[in-house]
């Protein structure tokens, strides 16, 4: 369990993170979303003691990060894939990390295989592509197979195969009881990967909850062969109807079953009937713009 309580960071008069509080439970993948400069990276750096908070605290398994006896064995982090020495080979970099974390050197070959860098392991990191550096960073985070993974923009530079692989990795990690905090700008990718969303805007948490409840709207979306006739029947039944630009009807506050009953009574042929859902992008902009 990770508990973040009232984390605040001020630089002079400027508050970049403002009373951020949340809990991360085992077995979940949490998406940490926010526009550039919202405070995601600063929050993650305060959680891992890289930046001293102005106020607030983070507790991981009952202790602040800096007091964990072997932090790398508890939290695997990828905060900046370019934070590597370009003169070292990938294998040398991971061997140094393995010594620091306390895993056998043989584990290095395992994680290199896992991320698909075995063939490039003896090449200098300076010659790696962005995607390769990203995978090297993921490999470093996985060395001790820690219970917590904290990744900041892990999909940067990854191709679609790599993004799918990373999504499966994170979901598998959570399925095994691990905790994942994932910050990303790739809304579509986050939507398919996470169970829960934390949205931060201007340094403050503006949304925190399961993806389904945050994205689920209140109403029903319906399409019919004769949309105007269906709209008339729905209005006559006292249900508010709003047509969309693409020919669908949004019936606010109604369950799909209510709409179906009206449609069936009028003999309407339906081509689509579902609960109305908001797109993550719409939610993102709505929340972060308001902040």
């Amino acid at each position: 369990m990770i508990t973040v309580n009232g984390l605040t960071k001020k630089y002079g008069e400027r508050t970049v993170v403002d009373q951020v509080s949340f809990e991360l439970e085992p077995g979940t993948v949490t998406g940490f979303l926010g526009p550039n400069g919202a405070g995601k990276t600063t929050t993650m750096r305060m959680m891992t003691s890289l930046v001293a908070p102005t106020a607030g605290s983070t507790v991981i398994d009952g202790k602040p990060y800096a007091e964990l006896s072997n932090p790398g064995a508890v939290v695997g982090t990828l905060l900046d894939a370019s934070a590597v020495h370009p003169g070292r080979t990938g294998r040398t970099h991971l061997r140094l990390l393995s010594s620091a974390v306390g895993v056998p050197a043989s584990r290095v070959d395992e994680v290199l295989e896992m991320v698909g860098l075995s063939d490039a392991a003896n090449r200098r990191i300076g010659g790696y592509s962005l995607g390769m550096r990203q995978r090297l960073g993921i490999a470093g985070a996985l060395l001790a197979d820690p219970p917590v993974l904290m990744f900041d923009e892990p999909a940067n530079g990854l191709d679609p195969e790599g993004i799918r692989w990373m999504r499966d990795l994170l979901r598998h990690h959570a399925a095994r009881g691990g905790t994942v905090l994932l910050s990303s700008h790739l809304l579509g990718e986050v939507e398919h990967t996470v169970d829960r969303l934390l949205v931060i805007g201007s340094g403050r948490i503006v949304a925190d909850g399961p993806v389904a409840s945050l994205l689920g709207g209140d109403g029903t979306t319906v399409r019919a062969l004769d949309a105007s006739a269906l709209a008339a029947d729905l209005s006559a039944a006292g249900l508010p109807v709003e047509p969309t630009s693409d020919g669908a009807l949004i019936v606010a506050g109604a369950e799909p079953s209510q709409v179906f009953v009206v449609a069936a009574a009028g003999g309407h042929v339906l081509t689509e009937l579902r609960p109305t859902e908001r797109a993550l992008e719409d939610l993102f902009f709505q929340l972060t713009t308001a902040a």
Partner: protein, 250 residues
């Protein structure tokens, strides 16, 4: 990438943090795992012997070995500044300090490990350099010089190698910028100190660490020279450690 995520057995992981000797060993491995680190190490080990070999080709005889060994020991120490700077400022320049502090959040421990590590490397490399230098002098055509005082000169060279590497580490940690640290150190030692010696020689005597090494190596050293070296080591290390503890990794 493996496309099948199987429940492989978890790796065996040490439950505690790395021990102090392990951290020192890790810092030494980090220093010698890059081309720049290896280059500095090789340069420190062979510069003095190469200079002596070239000087011996002039055919001039030496009266005593102590002088060249001591003087070149000072030169070797100057070459060891970058070893320390790369160990600290190099991490900030390449941002590897992020990983270092994520795995070992106790920054005082990290600095202590780096200081001990570069001191050990500096001493060893200075010792190797002195040994090769003396080997060259035994076979070089330099006449029949006196070897009196050579153990003292070698001892001072080894200590100076350690001290200057640590001064480099402390300065690098304070500035967190490799070019700035190296430029600052060399301008101070090779520029400001000689200028100060012209203007205020007694102040330069108290402050100049390279002159302190030279005087100690040739047997003219005083307690003040020792204090000068110790002062540089302590001040740069303390400042570097304090700044490192307070600097955010952003």
């Amino acid at each position: 990438m493996t496309t099948t995520l199987i429940d492989a057995p978890r790796p065996v992981v040490r439950s505690t943090g790395a021990s102090a000797p392990a951290l020192v060993g890790l810092e030494i491995r980090k220093s010698l795992s890059t081309r720049s680190g290896k280059s500095v190490a090789v340069a420190a080990a062979i510069l003095a012997p190469v200079v002596v070999a070239l000087m011996s080709l002039s055919g001039e005889s030496l009266e005593a070995v102590r002088g060249p060994v001591g003087a070149l020991g000072m030169v070797t120490a100057l070459v060891l500044f970058p070893l320390g700077v790369l160990a600290t400022a190099g991490e900030w320049s390449h941002r590897t300090v992020q990983t270092t502090f994520l795995l070992v959040p106790n920054r005082t421990s990290v600095m202590a490990s780096k200081v001990v590590g570069v001191a050990a490397m500096g001493a060893l490399l200075a010792g190797i350099s002195s040994a090769i230098t003396m080997a060259v002098l035994t076979v070089a055509p330099v006449g029949d010089p006196s070897w009196a005082g050579v153990p003292m000169a070698v001892g001072v060279s080894v200590a100076a190698g350690a001290a200057f590497a640590v001064i480099g580490a402390g300065t690098g940690a304070a500035l967190a910028n490799t070019p700035a640290a190296l430029t600052g150190l060399y301008l101070t030692i090779l520029g400001a100190m000689p200028a100060l010696r012209i203007w205020k020689p007694e102040v330069a005597d108290a402050l100049d660490p390279s002159n302190a090494v030279l005087q100690l190596a040739i047997g003219n050293g005083t307690t003040g020279n020792t204090l000068t070296l110790v002062g540089w080591v302590v001040v740069t290390t303390v400042i570097g450690t304090v700044v490192t503890r307070r600097r955010a990794v952003s």
